[in-house]
């Protein structure tokens, strides 16, 4: 029983990682119908910028966090304007290749700037590193921070898409760019801010998770793959779906690792996705019954 509660708790805390990454993917997808394959690298850039401010330059935590998020936001704007804007008018495959190009560039720059400082960079946690006790199990405080952050970002985004005009503009642009344009929406600008907000969410996730994931130029890759899996599992356009998908993925992974063997930890989520998608083609929270001609 103790093992089960530990595995569940760990599943939820690691699932929150995937959920937080998935949220950024969902924002971009909702407005542009594109998956940004450089999302993991934006996560890494956020973490690295915070590392530079906080560890190397010795700034306090909150300004470092804000600077890192702002930095990621700016990177999001630059990449959209330079690399994606003209490509977005063309097919999905071309956009994917452009985002791959951006991911190579960001990784390369990170390796160039921060890559010589050792293999993994450690980032001090926001809260005490000692584990906290909940009933009979212990949880790392920083993991709770990530979980809370995932829920806060989720709630914020859900409200944003439901209640604010900007949120509705974004969705309108995604569902029919031509009609949105006719309604007077400046879709170029909407795309730009979408990528920027997606990048900022990735950057914030990067800073919050850095104490647990550690920092290195390739940190984003696996998290991105798992985050994408979580997003798709949740229906890719659903904000709560992203977080639920992430938590589900985390829990499945941990239960498989704990009760079957640790060697299956990495493959079980993919098996689940393969079968889930084959039999549930629009994900858990996806829009059903659409058929395109």
């Amino acid at each position: 029983m103790l093992m089960f509660s530990y595995l569940m708790a760990t599943g939820i805390t690691t699932g929150a990682f995937y959920g937080l990454v998935a949220l950024g993917i969902v924002i971009v997808y909702k407005a542009t119908e594109v998956v940004n394959l450089a999302h993991g690298e934006l996560f890494m850039v956020g973490g690295m910028l915070a590392y530079t401010c906080y560890v190397i330059e010795g700034l306090p935590y909150v300004p470092s966090l804000l600077l890192a998020v702002a930095g990621a936001f700016v990177v999001g704007i630059i990449t959209e304007r330079v690399a994606y804007r003209s490509v977005l008018k063309h097919g999905l495959a071309s956009v994917l290749v452009a985002t791959i190009g951006v991911s190579f560039i960001l990784k390369g720059i990170a390796r160039y700037v921060w890559g010589g400082k050792g293999d993994y960079l450690s980032f001090p946690p926001l809260v005490s590193p000692e584990p906290l006790q909940f009933g009979n199990i212990m949880i790392m405080a920083q993991q709770l921070v990530v979980l809370v952050a995932a829920l806060v970002v989720m709630a914020g985004l859900a409200l944003f898409f439901k209640r604010t005009r900007a949120g509705k503009w974004m969705q309108a642009t995604a569902s029919n760019p031509k009609a949105a344009l006719l309604c007077g929406l400046r879709i170029d600008r909407i795309y730009m801010y979408t990528f920027a907000v997606g990048a900022a969410v990735a950057g914030a996730a990067g800073v919050l998770m850095a104490p647990l994931t550690l920092l290195y130029p390739d940190v984003g890759f696996v998290l991105f793959i798992k985050g994408l899996a979580a997003a798709v599992l949740g229906g890719i356009t659903s904000v709560p779906g992203a977080v639920v998908g992430g938590l589900l993925l985390g829990v499945i992974e941990q239960l498989a690792a704990g009760y079957v063997h640790s060697s299956v930890q990495d493959v079980v989520p993919f098996l689940v996705i393969m079968f889930a998608l084959t039999f549930l083609p629009t994900g858990l929270f996806g829009v059903r019954g659409l058929r395109k001609i």
Partner: protein, 345 residues
Amino acid sequence: MPVQALVGHRSFLTLLFGTLLVLPAVANQYTLFVGNLMLLYIILALGLNILVGFSGQLAFANAAIYGIGAYGTALLQVHLGWSFWAAAPVGAVLAMVIGTLLAIPALRLSGIFLALATLAFAQATQWVLWHWQSVTFGAGGFRTPSPSFSWFAIKQDYGIYFVSWVTTVTLFLFTWRIMRSRIGRAFVAMRDGEIAAQSLGIDLLAYKAMAFALSSFYAGVAGALYSGLLGYMSPEGFDLFQMIIQKAMIVVGGLGSVVGSVLGAALLVYIMEFLREFKSTQEIVFGVLLVGFMVFQPNGLVVFMKRWLPGWEEPMHLPERPQAISKPDVVEGTTSGDHPVVERT
């Protein structure tokens, strides 16, 4: 007319394949190896373009299928003592059979969902290569015997090169024919609208299966040759990076273009070797080039060629409705709670 004949796609292909044919006579072993890789990537790109460019199936499993072909060929030699010549066709067919099964999820999935389902398949394949220790020798890899060319009195390096050359040219000509046939047109119809295609009497199951079968057969053939070329098998050659490179090749060359596949593959292999000069910054330069290609030639280099070179006359099958601008209309169904309600301002 002479000018057109000089700069057309025929001259380009003759020049490329001709150069590759005489390469062994003039090149050192490094250049020969790169030339051989180029031939294999041309096969891979031709196959992937059939699936992604012509048939519109955004699958991410080609690298894994390539690996299955390579491992199949190598393991039949190592475990059962087969010769390369017996193992290679079986390896390629094995890859084709497994690849064809991917048409099952593709019947219900499209776009990003299909991409993720096939990506999951690819990751699972990697896992099997790592963990099915008794058969695949795990992540540590294993040495494979070199194909014997005793029947042909030619050195092994050159032997595998010429076999690759002949295979590549054959598959190219085959692709060229088949994409201009009824089958190729059916693929394109399926890509441009599944319901419309069905109403024309195109059997979606049969044609999707055929697209997956063709592309995985190509990947399997390339894999078989790769195992003969490399002499060493390990899983890291068939990972997501490999997939990304293949995808970049067909997009840079031109989706839905046979010549584009050749152009993209040859160009990217050349670029990746050329970028060695940049040492530690080659990632950055490679990324900038990819972005540059997409910004300036988003529909591929063949579009540029067709526009500026008078003799370039390949019938093109570009997707006609770029996705982000005019999304297909929703004809039926409900939307969930958080779906848009556009406020008019």
